[in-house]
């Protein structure tokens, strides 16, 4: 099994619901608590296992704003695991999930240094490294109804931009999602980490010819007069 996520940059609206749901679930999960320092003060601070940044992507014909959620990509070549001196960081044989054993971590930060995706954050309250667990304490929970055995971020996403499944299974949600979208893309492939999580780039938009708009004949009559009055 090769469990991971597919994140669709086309449909993500940047609501931060996945990050909030992640924090809510994992603060009482196997690696919890994810406590914040000064949560209601001017500079709240604390570990988040999922962060959403927003980029402006300017291309010749289609500029767009892209919301970019990032959590652990559960890499095939996870250097965060090999640099760990204590054996706290490990990648599970059975499903490829990368985890930190909170009882073994000594908080040396080396795994965070080895991660190109900023997926690991030190919890200064506990002195240990925190990262996405792919909600390992949820996806295997037999007490939950089967449709709820998914990571918190995936379940909460209002636009279905986050999909969870087994990449080794060609019929899983994630495998089918990437099939129609050129297999999805890897982030920073040049470093050779071979991330499991795939991103789907925005689909090409209908091109709008800017010249054709600006060269339109000015309207006459009342609407022409209004256009003239409100023109900047």
């Amino acid at each position: 099994m090769k469990l991971g996520l597919v994140i669709d940059l086309d449909t993500c609206v940047g609501c931060h619901g996945c990050a909030t749901a992640c924090k809510q679930w994992n603060t009482s999960g196997t690696i919890g608590p994810l406590t914040d320092q000064q949560p209601y003060a001017e500079n709240p601070d604390g570990p988040w296992l999922n962060r959403i940044r927003t980029f402006e992507v300017e291309e010749a014909s289609s500029s767009k704003t892209v919301h970019f959620p990032m959590s652990c990509l559960h890499c095939e070549n996870a250097d965060c695991v090999t640099v760990c001196p204590t054996g706290a960081s490990y990648k599970r044989e059975e499903d490829g999930i990368v985890l930190v054993d909170q009882d073994k971590c000594m908080g040396c930060n080396l795994c965070a240094w080895a991660c190109p995706y900023g997926a690991r954050e030190l919890d200064t309250n506990q002195g240990t490294m925190k990262k996405c667990t792919l909600c390992v304490d949820r996806i295997y929970d037999q007490a939950l109804p089967e449709e709820d055995r998914k990571p918190a971020c995936v379940l909460t996403c209002p636009t279905n931009s986050r999909l969870f499944g087994d990449f080794d299974d060609p019929n899983s949600d994630v495998s089918r999602a990437i099939q129609g979208r050129d297999g999805g893309v890897d982030l920073m492939p040049e470093l050779g980490y071979q991330p499991t999580n795939k991103y789907l780039q925005p689909r090409p938009r209908k091109q709008v010819d800017e010249l054709s708009i600006s060269n339109q004949e000015p309207k006459s009559g009342l609407s022409g007069w209004i256009n003239k009055m409100i023109a900047r």
Partner: protein
């Protein structure tokens, strides 16, 4: 990269300690040391104190030091683990050599023990360098010049300590020190010039939009987070340029000039003072060099915050 003082102090001080011990053993084996057993014990004690202080300092940046004993587990893949294991192995092995000299032991086995000690110290210096050089996420550290720089700087540090202990009376010592300091300076200059080269990763490879102009619109959080504190440590170009000059002057130029002056016997008074000045200048210069090593290291996570 955020330069934690405990890590700067660790790499420089343990480099001094291990380099000093290495030079004491090599020079003694070559019959060039000319030290009585009391004197050898004293200066070995100084070397032990230096690398022990350094190693203790390295545990200060741990957020959860009670688990530090576990760091010997991942010997097979982790350079940090290897450093820890060899550091622990170093105590009985180096201690055995010092004890053998104290008890006046001679013979083939002492030469074999000396070779083991020398190899162990070189491996330790290499491990320290590889903790940084093995990280593909930091192009300025993932640089083939980093291990030779750590090795030559360790040897140079050891030689100036021997100079302090012996008062720079032997021409061989001066020549060797000039050679290793000069070599370190050349490697370091080459390293500085290699930092100007473009790196493979960019905001385009980080976000997968290879053909577009990508800028950060919103970082998603209102205050500084762990990633920014650790990886986005900004120092102005003027400060960096000044620190480069200062570190090159203090770590290399000043010691080279002073050693050359002592060697040529133009300065015969104040020899002891000059020997102290060489050690202190190199030590402070290397602390500055290590600070720069962190400050000029640009982790690829910076691309997600639109910093190159």
């Amino acid at each position: 990269m955020h330069p934690a003082f405990s890590v700067l102090f660790f790499t420089v001080t343990s480099g001094f300690g291990y380099g000093f011990m290495l030079c004491l053993i090599v020079l003694q084996q070559l019959g060039l040391l000319d030290m009585g057993r009391e004197e050898f014990l004293l200066w070995s004690g100084v070397a032990f104190a230096l690398f022990t202080l350094g190693l203790m300092s390295s545990t200060l940046h741990l957020a959860n030091p009670k688990n530090a004993w576990r760091s010997f587990v991942r010997f097979r893949t982790s350079w940090l683990s290897r450093e820890g294991v060899f550091a622990i192995v170093g105590y009985p092995v180096l201690g055995a050599y010092v004890a053998a000299v104290w008890f006046g032991q001679t013979g083939l086995w002492l030469h074999v023990l000396a070779l083991v000690c020398i190899a162990l110290i070189l491996v330790l210096l290499y491990c320290t360098a590889m903790i940084y050089a093995s990280l593909k996420t930091i192009p300025q550290w993932h640089n083939k010049l980093v291990p030779p720089i750590f090795l030559t700087l360790g040897v140079s540090s050891g030689l100036v300590c021997v100079g302090l202990a012996k008062g720079w009376q032997h021409a061989e010592l001066s020549i060797t020190a000039l050679f290793f300091l000069g070599l370190s300076a050349i490697l370091k200059l080459q390293y500085f010039s290699s930092l100007g080269k473009p790196t493979r990763s960019s905001i385009n490879t980080a976000t997968s939009f290879s053909q577009a102009s990508v800028t950060l619109f919103d970082a998603g959080h209102s205050s500084q987070n762990f990633l920014q504190r650790e990886f986005v440590y900004e120092v102005g170009p003027k400060t960096t340029a000044l620190a480069r000059k200062a570190s090159l002057t203090m770590a290399f130029l000043a010691p080279l000039v002073l050693i050359a002056l002592l060697w040529s016997k133009t300065v015969t008074d104040y020899t002891q003072l000059a020997a102290w000045a060489i050690v202190i200048s190199l030590y402070v210069g290397l602390l500055l060099e290590r600070w720069l090593f962190f400050v000029e290291a640009k982790h690829v996570v910076r691309h997600y915050y639109d910093k190159s």
